[in-house]
Amino acid sequence: MKPTNISDPAIRKRLIVSAGVLLALGLLALYALFDPGTSILAPKCPFKLLTGFDCPACGSQRTLHALLRGQWLAAFRYNPFLLLSVPYLLLVAYTTWSGGGRAARWKGRVQHPKVVLTYLALLVGWWIVRNTPLWQ
């Protein structure tokens, strides 16, 4: 039998992936059990701590908690922008790191400067609007 060698890149990669999956599952369990909206140990947004204003991502942890408990409407209320940013982030990650021909074809569209700047404009717009009485 081949001895297990941690310096073997294939084994190391598998170890890192397993550790990542375990960490993600642990975090999901924590977010399902505890409400980050009331727990003082949940990480707080640096931007909100410093300025008092919501950042574009504020509410992500509460959204995750609500999603894990099946409270869909509450999840949407905490941060509806995640409905746009999470799929877009996944698309960008896929077209960047997946080696396939389809990913390469889609990269030009998904990561086109106009698309990226539109996303950025929406992000900044949401950032401003959520801190006005328009979003309450």
Partner: protein
């Protein structure tokens, strides 16, 4: 600077730029997104060195943003834990 078309376009670091902006909620990530978005057009225009520089800058701003966010969050958690410890000692 080098002549002709270099072998491959640099990774624009757009993934990290968007990740820090949407997860670490640091405004510095916006700078990273703008830098990353400029990589493709610079490359297409033949400004290879500038494109590489923009890609590097995007990565740098994303890293700075992530580190700032992490440091502030860790400081906050340390602060909360100290308060809890003090409260427990005086209880």
């Amino acid at each position: 600077m080098e002549e002709g078309t270099p072998a491959c376009k640099p990774d624009s670091n757009l993934v990290w730029a968007i990740l820090v902006t949407t997860l670490c909620c640091m405004p510095l990530g916006v700078v990273a997104i703008v830098k990353a978005a400029s990589v493709d057009s610079l490359w297409a225009a033949g400004s290879y060195a500038e494109a590489r520089k923009a890609a590097q800058d995007a990565g740098k701003w994303a890293a700075v943003s992530a580190i700032c966010g992490l440091v502030i969050v860790l400081c906050y958690m340390l602060y909360m834990m100290t308060i809890i410890a003090i409260a427990a000692l005086h209880a």
